[in-house]
Protein backbone atom coordinates (compact mmCIF):
# COMPACT_ATOMS: atom_id res chain seq x y z
CA UNK A 1 0.00 0.00 0.00
CA UNK A 2 1.20 3.55 -0.63
CA UNK A 3 2.77 5.03 2.48
CA UNK A 4 1.82 8.16 4.41
CA UNK A 5 4.21 10.48 2.54
CA UNK A 6 2.83 9.32 -0.78
CA UNK A 7 -0.72 9.88 0.43
CA UNK A 8 0.02 13.45 1.53
CA UNK A 9 1.73 14.09 -1.81
CA UNK A 10 -1.34 12.85 -3.62
CA UNK A 11 -3.56 15.29 -1.74
CA UNK A 12 -1.23 18.14 -2.60
CA UNK A 13 -1.07 17.05 -6.22
CA UNK A 14 -4.85 16.98 -6.53
CA UNK A 15 -5.09 20.43 -4.95
CA UNK A 16 -2.47 21.76 -7.38
CA UNK A 17 -4.38 20.42 -10.41
CA UNK A 18 -7.61 21.86 -8.99
CA UNK A 19 -5.95 25.25 -8.49
CA UNK A 20 -4.66 25.25 -12.07
CA UNK A 21 -8.16 24.45 -13.32
CA UNK A 22 -9.90 27.09 -11.19
CA UNK A 23 -7.50 29.85 -12.09
CA UNK A 24 -6.39 29.04 -15.64
CA UNK A 25 -9.08 26.64 -16.92
CA UNK A 26 -6.52 24.03 -17.97
CA UNK A 27 -8.07 20.79 -16.82
CA UNK A 28 -5.45 18.16 -16.02
CA UNK A 29 -7.52 16.64 -13.23
CA UNK A 30 -8.29 13.49 -15.18
CA UNK A 31 -4.91 12.96 -16.72
CA UNK A 32 -3.32 9.58 -15.96
CA UNK A 33 -1.68 10.15 -12.61
CA UNK A 34 1.62 8.28 -12.91
CA UNK A 35 3.04 10.36 -15.74
CA UNK A 36 1.75 13.75 -14.63
CA UNK A 37 3.02 13.16 -11.11
CA UNK A 38 6.49 12.41 -12.47
CA UNK A 39 6.51 15.54 -14.60
CA UNK A 40 5.21 17.79 -11.83
CA UNK A 41 7.81 16.31 -9.50
CA UNK A 42 10.44 17.40 -12.02
CA UNK A 43 8.86 20.86 -12.15
CA UNK A 44 8.72 21.04 -8.35
CA UNK A 45 12.43 20.24 -8.09
CA UNK A 46 13.32 22.53 -11.00
CA UNK A 47 11.57 25.53 -9.41
CA UNK A 48 13.17 24.76 -6.04
CA UNK A 49 9.90 23.94 -4.28
CA UNK A 50 9.74 21.64 -1.28
CA UNK A 51 6.23 20.43 -2.02
CA UNK A 52 3.40 20.54 -4.55
CA UNK A 53 1.70 22.99 -2.17
CA UNK A 54 4.58 25.41 -2.57
CA UNK A 55 4.44 24.96 -6.34
CA UNK A 56 0.69 25.69 -6.14
CA UNK A 57 1.41 28.95 -4.36
CA UNK A 58 3.85 29.94 -7.10
CA UNK A 59 1.56 29.05 -9.98
CA UNK A 60 -1.35 30.96 -8.42
CA UNK A 61 0.59 34.08 -7.52
CA UNK A 62 3.51 34.53 -9.89
CA UNK A 63 2.87 35.81 -13.39
CA UNK A 64 4.27 33.70 -16.21
CA UNK A 65 4.51 30.64 -13.99
CA UNK A 66 1.57 28.88 -15.65
CA UNK A 67 3.14 29.15 -19.09
CA UNK A 68 6.31 27.59 -17.75
CA UNK A 69 4.46 24.83 -16.00
CA UNK A 70 2.53 24.06 -19.18
CA UNK A 71 5.83 22.94 -20.68
CA UNK A 72 5.95 20.22 -18.02
CA UNK A 73 2.26 19.34 -18.14
CA UNK A 74 2.20 18.71 -21.87
CA UNK A 75 4.61 16.33 -23.57
CA UNK A 76 6.06 17.51 -26.87
CA UNK A 77 7.99 14.80 -28.61
CA UNK A 78 7.34 14.11 -32.25
CA UNK A 79 8.90 13.51 -35.62
CA UNK A 80 7.88 14.05 -39.20
CA UNK A 81 6.36 10.82 -40.48
CA UNK A 82 6.79 9.17 -37.08
CA UNK A 83 6.01 5.46 -37.49
CA UNK A 84 6.39 5.45 -41.29
CA UNK A 85 4.17 2.38 -41.58
CA UNK A 86 1.24 4.50 -40.37
CA UNK A 87 1.70 6.95 -43.23
CA UNK A 88 2.33 4.19 -45.73
CA UNK A 89 -1.00 2.61 -44.73
CA UNK A 90 -2.72 5.97 -45.16
CA UNK A 91 -1.24 6.32 -48.66
CA UNK A 92 -2.05 2.83 -49.76
CA UNK A 93 -5.33 2.13 -48.01
CA UNK A 94 -7.02 5.36 -46.89
CA UNK A 95 -6.17 7.75 -49.74
CA UNK A 96 -8.20 5.75 -52.30
CA UNK A 97 -11.27 6.30 -50.10
CA UNK A 98 -10.48 9.97 -49.55
CA UNK A 99 -10.19 10.52 -53.31
CA UNK A 100 -13.92 9.83 -53.63
CA UNK A 101 -14.75 12.99 -51.62
CA UNK A 102 -15.00 16.37 -53.40
CA UNK A 103 -13.79 18.16 -50.28
CA UNK A 104 -12.02 16.96 -47.14
CA UNK A 105 -11.49 18.13 -43.60
CA UNK A 106 -8.68 16.62 -41.56
CA UNK A 107 -8.20 17.19 -37.83
CA UNK A 108 -4.74 16.81 -36.28
CA UNK A 109 -5.73 16.68 -32.60
CA UNK A 110 -2.94 17.49 -30.14
CA UNK A 111 -0.66 18.72 -32.94
CA UNK A 112 2.05 19.93 -30.54
CA UNK A 113 4.80 21.69 -32.52
CA UNK A 114 3.40 20.66 -35.89
CA UNK A 115 5.42 17.64 -37.06
CA UNK A 116 2.30 15.57 -37.65
CA UNK A 117 0.59 18.40 -39.53
CA UNK A 118 3.48 18.89 -41.96
CA UNK A 119 3.63 15.14 -42.52
CA UNK A 120 -0.03 15.14 -43.55
CA UNK A 121 0.31 18.28 -45.64
CA UNK A 122 3.22 16.77 -47.59
CA UNK A 123 1.50 13.42 -47.99
CA UNK A 124 -1.72 15.06 -49.22
CA UNK A 125 0.24 17.17 -51.72
CA UNK A 126 2.06 14.09 -53.02
CA UNK A 127 -1.22 12.21 -53.34
CA UNK A 128 -3.01 15.08 -55.11
CA UNK A 129 -5.49 15.74 -52.30
CA UNK A 130 -4.11 19.02 -50.98
CA UNK A 131 -6.29 21.38 -53.01
CA UNK A 132 -9.51 19.89 -51.75
CA UNK A 133 -8.45 19.64 -48.10
CA UNK A 134 -8.78 21.87 -45.06
CA UNK A 135 -6.61 20.97 -42.05
CA UNK A 136 -7.39 21.78 -38.43
CA UNK A 137 -4.35 21.60 -36.16
CA UNK A 138 -5.30 21.92 -32.50
CA UNK A 139 -3.50 21.88 -29.18
CA UNK A 140 -3.91 23.35 -25.69
CA UNK A 141 -0.36 24.66 -25.56
CA UNK A 142 -0.19 28.11 -27.19
CA UNK A 143 3.59 28.00 -27.31
CA UNK A 144 3.55 24.70 -29.20
CA UNK A 145 0.92 26.08 -31.61
CA UNK A 146 3.15 29.05 -32.35
CA UNK A 147 6.00 26.67 -33.17
CA UNK A 148 3.67 24.64 -35.36
CA UNK A 149 2.69 27.79 -37.24
CA UNK A 150 6.32 28.68 -37.81
CA UNK A 151 7.33 25.25 -39.08
CA UNK A 152 11.00 25.59 -38.13
CA UNK A 153 12.89 22.53 -36.89
CA UNK A 154 16.50 21.82 -36.03
CA UNK A 155 18.43 20.88 -39.14
CA UNK A 156 19.98 17.88 -37.41
CA UNK A 157 16.53 16.26 -37.22
CA UNK A 158 16.15 16.26 -41.02
CA UNK A 159 18.16 13.06 -41.46
CA UNK A 160 15.62 11.12 -39.39
CA UNK A 161 12.66 12.95 -40.95
CA UNK A 162 13.99 12.26 -44.46
CA UNK A 163 14.40 8.57 -43.71
CA UNK A 164 10.90 8.40 -42.18
CA UNK A 165 9.45 10.15 -45.22
CA UNK A 166 11.15 7.73 -47.58
CA UNK A 167 9.91 4.72 -45.60
CA UNK A 168 6.38 6.14 -45.64
CA UNK A 169 6.40 5.79 -49.43
CA UNK A 170 7.26 9.45 -50.09
CA UNK A 171 7.06 10.34 -53.77
CA UNK A 172 9.39 13.31 -53.64
CA UNK A 173 12.43 14.49 -51.74
CA UNK A 174 11.73 15.95 -48.30
CA UNK A 175 14.25 18.67 -49.04
CA UNK A 176 11.81 20.02 -51.66
CA UNK A 177 9.65 21.23 -48.79
CA UNK A 178 12.10 23.15 -46.61
CA UNK A 179 14.94 25.60 -46.86
CA UNK A 180 18.01 25.09 -44.72
CA UNK A 181 19.98 27.82 -43.06
CA UNK A 182 21.61 28.72 -39.75
CA UNK A 183 21.16 25.20 -38.39
CA UNK A 184 17.41 25.24 -39.00
CA UNK A 185 15.02 23.82 -41.56
CA UNK A 186 12.11 26.12 -42.39
CA UNK A 187 9.18 24.38 -44.00
CA UNK A 188 7.53 26.00 -47.01
CA UNK A 189 4.64 28.15 -45.82
CA UNK A 190 2.48 27.01 -48.74
CA UNK A 191 2.20 23.71 -46.83
CA UNK A 192 0.08 25.40 -44.18
CA UNK A 193 -1.96 27.75 -46.35
CA UNK A 194 -4.96 25.44 -45.94
CA UNK A 195 -4.48 24.95 -42.20
CA UNK A 196 -6.36 26.53 -39.32
CA UNK A 197 -4.32 26.46 -36.10
CA UNK A 198 -6.47 26.60 -33.02
CA UNK A 199 -6.46 26.33 -29.26
CA UNK A 200 -8.72 23.39 -28.47
CA UNK A 201 -8.96 21.05 -25.49
CA UNK A 202 -10.06 17.46 -25.84
CA UNK A 203 -10.96 17.63 -22.14
CA UNK A 204 -13.21 20.68 -22.00
CA UNK A 205 -14.11 21.79 -25.55
CA UNK A 206 -16.73 20.52 -27.98
CA UNK A 207 -16.68 19.33 -31.59
CA UNK A 208 -16.15 22.22 -34.03
CA UNK A 209 -16.31 20.69 -37.51
CA UNK A 210 -17.36 17.66 -39.49
CA UNK A 211 -14.25 15.78 -40.58
CA UNK A 212 -13.28 12.79 -42.73
CA UNK A 213 -10.03 11.99 -40.94
CA UNK A 214 -8.87 12.53 -37.36
CA UNK A 215 -5.26 11.79 -36.46
CA UNK A 216 -4.53 11.84 -32.73
CA UNK A 217 -1.36 9.96 -31.91
CA UNK A 218 0.40 9.69 -28.56
CA UNK A 219 -1.93 12.24 -27.02
CA UNK A 220 -4.53 10.03 -25.36
CA UNK A 221 -1.85 7.98 -23.56
CA UNK A 222 -1.67 10.81 -21.01
CA UNK A 223 -5.38 10.52 -20.21
CA UNK A 224 -7.25 8.19 -17.88
CA UNK A 225 -9.52 5.73 -19.56
CA UNK A 226 -12.58 7.89 -18.76
CA UNK A 227 -11.02 10.92 -20.35
CA UNK A 228 -9.96 8.85 -23.35
CA UNK A 229 -13.62 7.92 -23.69
CA UNK A 230 -14.60 11.58 -23.85
CA UNK A 231 -11.99 12.37 -26.51
CA UNK A 232 -12.88 9.37 -28.64
CA UNK A 233 -16.52 10.46 -28.33
CA UNK A 234 -15.56 13.85 -29.79
CA UNK A 235 -13.77 12.17 -32.69
CA UNK A 236 -16.76 9.94 -33.32
CA UNK A 237 -19.11 12.95 -33.35
CA UNK A 238 -16.80 14.90 -35.63
CA UNK A 239 -16.22 12.13 -38.16
CA UNK A 240 -18.60 11.56 -41.04
CA UNK A 241 -19.89 8.05 -41.54
CA UNK A 242 -17.01 5.83 -42.67
CA UNK A 243 -14.55 8.53 -41.61
CA UNK A 244 -11.09 7.49 -40.39
CA UNK A 245 -9.41 7.71 -36.98
CA UNK A 246 -5.67 7.17 -36.56
CA UNK A 247 -4.16 6.47 -33.12
CA UNK A 248 -0.60 5.98 -31.86
CA UNK A 249 1.28 2.73 -32.46
CA UNK A 250 0.55 1.32 -28.98
CA UNK A 251 -2.90 2.82 -28.46
CA UNK A 252 -6.08 0.83 -28.86
CA UNK A 253 -9.85 1.28 -28.88
CA UNK A 254 -10.15 -2.16 -27.30
CA UNK A 255 -10.78 -0.76 -23.81
CA UNK A 256 -12.94 2.15 -24.99
CA UNK A 257 -16.71 2.48 -24.50
CA UNK A 258 -16.78 3.60 -28.14
CA UNK A 259 -15.07 0.48 -29.49
CA UNK A 260 -18.29 -0.79 -31.11
CA UNK A 261 -18.71 2.42 -33.05
CA UNK A 262 -15.56 1.81 -35.07
CA UNK A 263 -14.13 -1.03 -37.12
CA UNK A 264 -10.45 -1.90 -37.28
CA UNK A 265 -9.49 -0.67 -40.73
CA UNK A 266 -5.78 -1.43 -40.55
CA UNK A 267 -5.04 -3.18 -37.30
CA UNK A 268 -1.26 -2.94 -37.08
CA UNK A 269 -1.23 0.75 -37.99
CA UNK A 270 -4.07 1.57 -35.56
CA UNK A 271 -6.33 2.98 -38.25
CA UNK A 272 -10.01 2.78 -37.41
CA UNK A 273 -13.08 3.55 -39.47
CA UNK A 274 -16.31 4.89 -38.05
CA UNK A 275 -19.16 2.54 -38.78
CA UNK A 276 -21.90 3.65 -41.19
CA UNK A 277 -25.27 4.47 -39.67
CA UNK A 278 -23.93 5.94 -36.41
Amino acid sequence: MPNAIARTEDIELRLLLEAIFLKYHYDFRNYALASIKRRLTQARDQFGCRSFSQLQDMVLNESGMMDELLGYLTVQVSELFRDPAYFRAIREKVVPHLKTYPSLKVWIAGCSSGEELYSFAILFREEGLEERTMFYATDINADALRKAEMGVYALERMKLFTENHRLSGGKSSLSDYYTAGYGAATFDKSLRKRTVFSDHSLVTDAVFAETQFVSCRNVLIYFTRDLQGRAIGLFKDSLTRNGFLGLGAKETLRFSPHADEFTEFSRDERLYQKRGGI
Binding site: P2, R38, R39, V77, I221, Y222, K250, E251, F255
Partner: protein, 192 residues
Protein backbone atom coordinates in the same frame (compact mmCIF):
# COMPACT_ATOMS: atom_id res chain seq x y z
CA UNK B 1 -8.92 -7.06 3.45
CA UNK B 2 -5.51 -7.98 4.89
CA UNK B 3 -3.43 -10.27 2.73
CA UNK B 4 -2.24 -13.56 4.23
CA UNK B 5 1.10 -12.94 5.95
CA UNK B 6 3.08 -15.43 3.87
CA UNK B 7 2.05 -13.95 0.52
CA UNK B 8 2.53 -10.22 0.83
CA UNK B 9 3.69 -9.56 -2.72
CA UNK B 10 1.38 -8.34 -5.44
CA UNK B 11 3.62 -7.58 -8.39
CA UNK B 12 7.13 -7.90 -9.81
CA UNK B 13 9.10 -5.41 -11.90
CA UNK B 14 12.25 -6.40 -13.76
CA UNK B 15 14.85 -4.21 -15.47
CA UNK B 16 17.63 -5.35 -17.78
CA UNK B 17 19.83 -4.06 -20.55
CA UNK B 18 22.88 -5.54 -22.28
CA UNK B 19 22.70 -9.33 -21.98
CA UNK B 20 19.17 -9.08 -20.64
CA UNK B 21 17.49 -11.46 -23.08
CA UNK B 22 19.64 -14.34 -21.94
CA UNK B 23 19.16 -13.48 -18.26
CA UNK B 24 15.40 -13.28 -18.71
CA UNK B 25 15.52 -16.67 -20.42
CA UNK B 26 16.74 -18.12 -17.13
CA UNK B 27 13.65 -16.76 -15.37
CA UNK B 28 10.48 -16.22 -17.38
CA UNK B 29 10.24 -19.64 -19.13
CA UNK B 30 10.60 -21.36 -15.74
CA UNK B 31 7.59 -19.78 -14.07
CA UNK B 32 4.60 -22.11 -13.74
CA UNK B 33 1.45 -21.53 -15.80
CA UNK B 34 -0.48 -20.61 -12.64
CA UNK B 35 2.05 -18.06 -11.40
CA UNK B 36 -0.22 -15.52 -9.72
CA UNK B 37 1.74 -12.25 -9.80
CA UNK B 38 1.89 -9.80 -12.69
CA UNK B 39 5.41 -9.07 -13.97
CA UNK B 40 6.32 -5.83 -15.75
CA UNK B 41 9.61 -5.78 -17.66
CA UNK B 42 11.73 -3.04 -19.17
CA UNK B 43 14.58 -4.22 -21.35
CA UNK B 44 16.52 -1.64 -23.32
CA UNK B 45 16.14 -2.29 -27.02
CA UNK B 46 16.79 -0.16 -30.08
CA UNK B 47 13.72 1.97 -30.83
CA UNK B 48 12.48 -0.03 -33.75
CA UNK B 49 8.79 0.21 -33.94
CA UNK B 50 7.95 -3.43 -33.64
CA UNK B 51 9.44 -5.70 -31.05
CA UNK B 52 9.83 -9.43 -31.31
CA UNK B 53 10.74 -9.93 -27.68
CA UNK B 54 7.25 -10.53 -26.26
CA UNK B 55 6.33 -13.12 -28.93
CA UNK B 56 9.72 -14.78 -28.39
CA UNK B 57 9.06 -15.28 -24.67
CA UNK B 58 5.39 -16.08 -25.20
CA UNK B 59 6.57 -19.00 -27.29
CA UNK B 60 8.93 -20.30 -24.60
CA UNK B 61 6.90 -19.59 -21.45
CA UNK B 62 3.97 -21.10 -19.63
CA UNK B 63 2.83 -17.72 -18.29
CA UNK B 64 1.26 -15.29 -20.76
CA UNK B 65 3.69 -12.76 -22.26
CA UNK B 66 2.49 -9.64 -24.06
CA UNK B 67 3.77 -6.26 -25.14
CA UNK B 68 1.91 -3.63 -23.10
CA UNK B 69 -0.62 -1.42 -24.82
CA UNK B 70 -1.82 1.81 -23.30
CA UNK B 71 -4.25 1.37 -20.35
CA UNK B 72 -3.94 -2.42 -20.37
CA UNK B 73 -5.40 -3.71 -17.08
CA UNK B 74 -2.70 -5.50 -15.07
CA UNK B 75 -3.46 -9.19 -14.55
CA UNK B 76 -1.71 -11.78 -12.44
CA UNK B 77 0.19 -14.49 -14.26
CA UNK B 78 1.00 -12.22 -17.15
CA UNK B 79 4.32 -10.70 -18.21
CA UNK B 80 4.07 -7.22 -19.73
CA UNK B 81 7.02 -5.92 -21.76
CA UNK B 82 7.45 -2.19 -22.31
CA UNK B 83 7.10 -1.46 -26.03
CA UNK B 84 10.14 0.00 -27.79
CA UNK B 85 10.42 3.78 -27.62
CA UNK B 86 7.81 4.28 -24.87
CA UNK B 87 8.10 4.53 -21.12
CA UNK B 88 5.95 2.02 -19.25
CA UNK B 89 4.18 3.29 -16.12
CA UNK B 90 1.94 1.69 -13.51
CA UNK B 91 -1.19 3.59 -12.52
CA UNK B 92 -2.79 3.47 -9.08
CA UNK B 93 -5.80 1.95 -10.84
CA UNK B 94 -3.50 -0.98 -11.75
CA UNK B 95 -3.54 -0.19 -15.42
CA UNK B 96 -0.43 0.31 -17.53
CA UNK B 97 0.20 3.67 -19.15
CA UNK B 98 2.65 4.50 -21.90
CA UNK B 99 4.47 7.78 -22.32
CA UNK B 100 6.61 9.49 -24.94
CA UNK B 101 8.29 11.72 -22.41
CA UNK B 102 11.97 12.39 -22.99
CA UNK B 103 14.39 9.52 -22.38
CA UNK B 104 15.66 9.18 -18.80
CA UNK B 105 19.40 8.38 -18.54
CA UNK B 106 19.31 8.05 -22.35
CA UNK B 107 16.72 5.30 -22.05
CA UNK B 108 13.16 5.00 -23.30
CA UNK B 109 11.74 2.79 -21.92
CA UNK B 110 13.37 3.64 -18.61
CA UNK B 111 13.70 1.13 -15.78
CA UNK B 112 13.60 3.95 -13.23
CA UNK B 113 10.27 5.23 -14.56
CA UNK B 114 8.66 1.79 -14.36
CA UNK B 115 10.05 1.03 -10.91
CA UNK B 116 9.18 4.42 -9.40
CA UNK B 117 5.59 4.39 -10.63
CA UNK B 118 5.12 0.74 -9.66
CA UNK B 119 6.44 1.50 -6.17
CA UNK B 120 3.95 4.34 -5.94
CA UNK B 121 1.10 1.99 -6.86
CA UNK B 122 2.08 -1.20 -5.01
CA UNK B 123 3.99 0.16 -2.03
CA UNK B 124 5.47 -2.66 0.03
CA UNK B 125 3.77 -5.28 -2.15
CA UNK B 126 6.39 -4.99 -4.89
CA UNK B 127 9.51 -6.92 -5.81
CA UNK B 128 12.06 -5.13 -7.97
CA UNK B 129 14.69 -7.09 -9.89
CA UNK B 130 17.78 -5.60 -11.55
CA UNK B 131 19.61 -7.85 -14.00
CA UNK B 132 22.63 -7.43 -16.27
CA UNK B 133 23.20 -4.10 -18.01
CA UNK B 134 25.83 -1.60 -19.07
CA UNK B 135 24.46 1.61 -17.56
CA UNK B 136 23.03 2.80 -14.26
CA UNK B 137 19.34 2.90 -15.16
CA UNK B 138 17.31 1.11 -12.49
CA UNK B 139 19.41 2.08 -9.46
CA UNK B 140 17.18 5.01 -8.49
CA UNK B 141 14.11 2.93 -9.33
CA UNK B 142 15.12 0.05 -7.09
CA UNK B 143 15.90 2.53 -4.33
CA UNK B 144 12.31 3.81 -4.62
CA UNK B 145 10.94 0.26 -4.51
CA UNK B 146 12.82 -0.41 -1.29
CA UNK B 147 11.99 2.99 0.22
CA UNK B 148 8.32 2.01 -0.05
CA UNK B 149 9.03 -1.25 1.76
CA UNK B 150 9.30 -3.49 -1.29
CA UNK B 151 11.92 -6.17 -1.84
CA UNK B 152 15.01 -5.63 -4.01
CA UNK B 153 16.80 -8.41 -5.89
CA UNK B 154 19.98 -7.83 -7.89
CA UNK B 155 21.83 -10.24 -10.15
CA UNK B 156 25.31 -11.07 -8.83
CA UNK B 157 27.58 -8.76 -10.89
CA UNK B 158 30.18 -11.52 -11.43
CA UNK B 159 27.58 -13.66 -13.22
CA UNK B 160 26.14 -10.79 -15.25
CA UNK B 161 26.98 -10.32 -18.92
CA UNK B 162 27.50 -6.66 -18.09
CA UNK B 163 28.05 -5.68 -14.48
CA UNK B 164 27.56 -1.90 -14.47
CA UNK B 165 23.82 -1.99 -13.89
CA UNK B 166 23.80 -4.47 -10.99
CA UNK B 167 26.78 -2.69 -9.43
CA UNK B 168 25.03 0.69 -9.60
CA UNK B 169 21.93 -0.88 -8.05
CA UNK B 170 23.97 -2.44 -5.23
CA UNK B 171 25.56 0.90 -4.49
CA UNK B 172 22.15 2.60 -4.33
CA UNK B 173 20.48 -0.26 -2.41
CA UNK B 174 22.97 -1.86 0.01
CA UNK B 175 20.23 -3.95 1.67
CA UNK B 176 19.00 -5.59 -1.55
CA UNK B 177 19.58 -9.33 -1.98
CA UNK B 178 22.39 -10.15 -4.41
CA UNK B 179 21.62 -13.45 -6.09
CA UNK B 180 22.40 -15.66 -9.05
CA UNK B 181 19.66 -16.06 -11.64
CA UNK B 182 18.60 -19.45 -10.23
CA UNK B 183 18.04 -17.94 -6.82
CA UNK B 184 16.21 -14.93 -8.25
CA UNK B 185 13.85 -17.39 -9.92
CA UNK B 186 13.42 -19.22 -6.62
CA UNK B 187 12.67 -15.95 -4.78
CA UNK B 188 10.03 -15.04 -7.35
CA UNK B 189 8.44 -18.47 -7.08
CA UNK B 190 8.45 -18.35 -3.28
CA UNK B 191 7.00 -14.84 -3.22
CA UNK B 192 3.84 -15.97 -4.92
Amino acid sequence: MPEPAHKPYRAVVIGASAGGLKALSAILPHLPADYPLPIMVVIHVPPHRRSLIAPLFEEKSQVRVVEAEDKTPIEGGCVFFAPPDYHLLVERSFELSLSSEAPVLFSRPSIDVLFETAADAYGDGLIGVILTGANNDGAAGLKAVMAYGGKGLIQTPATAFSRAMPEAAIEACPSALILDLDDILLELKNAA
